[in-house]
Amino acid sequence: MDKLSITGPKIRFEIPYDFPLLGRIRITDTLIISWVVMLIITLLCIWLTRGLKVEKISKKQAFAEMLVEMADKFVIGNMGEKFAYMVPFVAALFATSLVSNLISLFGVWSPTADLNTEAAWAIVVFIMITRQKIKANGLGGYLKGFTEPIVIMTPFNMLSELSTPISMAGRHFGNILSGVVINGLMYTALAVASSKLLGLLPGAVGALLSQIPILDVGIPAILSVYFDWFTGVMQAFIFCMLTTMYIANAAEA
């Protein structure tokens, strides 16, 4: 494999009926892996909360309690007590993002490597931000906010408003995609390198061994520490941080 191609998710299933505006329903890897991710998270939750005890708790239960407390602390710390109802949403966002990012470690398609996923999350957050703004200022106040400080700024204000979800989605997608691209490049390059290196051996042995991409073992794991682990955790955290910050700020003014 000397040629590297980086594409979107594979389409596994298609209903060949063109809905107006929405087009065909295509079940892609993004959706299938998303469901797998949901299943993993839900099973994890069920496993963690099995056999809860009030006293003499197990390590597992201590971990589950710690997760809940962390989620509470994070959301209430960033948004205040009145947004306590947002805890499950932010927790779901974080968990889904994190597991989606890290599932690529198992060699499957990461749902977050599809911009549609991040766009969906960002739009939901954007609607929440807008709702809080309208709630805080009233519809008139919200619309009037665009014309400030002067009327001529209106298009720029609208642009800046729209840039929030776009930047959120783009940041997350770009970071994950970069990991996918770098990993793809790395595997291909190392395969070529090992093939050429072992091809130096004479005769049939060299011909056979050059088929095995021996350099692909181990070396990409080092890069994956940053591109999969660090980026995966970081982007999930950043996305949730921005979500809570934006919504809390929107509710203030």
């Binding site: 594979k10 998303s34 069920i46 589950a64 999350w121 939901v124």
Partner: protein, 176 residues
């Protein structure tokens, strides 16, 4: 073929950056479904458990407070009982001491009395013995004297006549 069966045909791929409205909609739904699932399977049981624990802790604190009050009551009652017991013990001790003193006094007095009685009895015995001895002596000395006198004067002296003289003599001897 109606559907694109996976793995059989060459699987088609989406473009790297493309708009797939159904994926977009599905992901929004997925996010909210995930939220509900996490809420139901993680937050709800944990929060219920935490509330239960809180309740239990509150109950324990309440119980501890009640126990403390009860313990203090018990303590004061014990202290009261203890004081009573101490008082009573003191009383008993004092009574015993008094009794002992009385008893010892009694014993000493009784002993004294007995000693006095014994002494007086002994004195009486002694006196009686003396009297007896004197009486015996009286008889003997009388007869002896008469014998001597008879020999001296060579004549019989009537005992009756001279008994009075002899008595006087003995009386004088007894007094001497």
């Amino acid at each position: 073929m109606l559907f694109n069966i996976p793995f059989l045909a060459e699987t088609a791929t989406q473009d790297l950056v493309s708009v797939a409205p159904w994926t977009f909609i599905a992901q929004i739904c997925n996010l909210f479904i995930q939220m509900l699932l996490i809420k139901k399977f993680l937050f709800k049981p944990i929060r219920e458990m935490l509330a239960k624990r809180q309740e239990l802790a509150d109950e324990k604190i309440r119980k501890a407070e009640a126990d403390q009050v009860a313990a203090e009551e018990l303590k004061s009652s014990y202290e009261k009982n203890m004081q009573q017991a101490k008082d009573k013990a003191g009383e008993i001790l004092a009574t015993a001491q008094k009794n002992a003193a009385t008893q010892s006094d009694e014993i000493i007095r009784a002993a004294n009395e007995q000693a006095i009685a014994m002494k007086s009895k002994a004195e009486a015995d002694i006196a009686q013995e003396r009297r007896k001895a004197v009486n015996e002596l009286k008889g003997e000395i009388g007869s002896m004297a008469m014998e001597i006198a008879g020999k001296v004067i060579e004549r019989e002296i009537s005992e009756k006549d001279h008994a009075k003289l002899i008595d006087e003599f003995i009386e004088n001897v007894g007094k001497a």
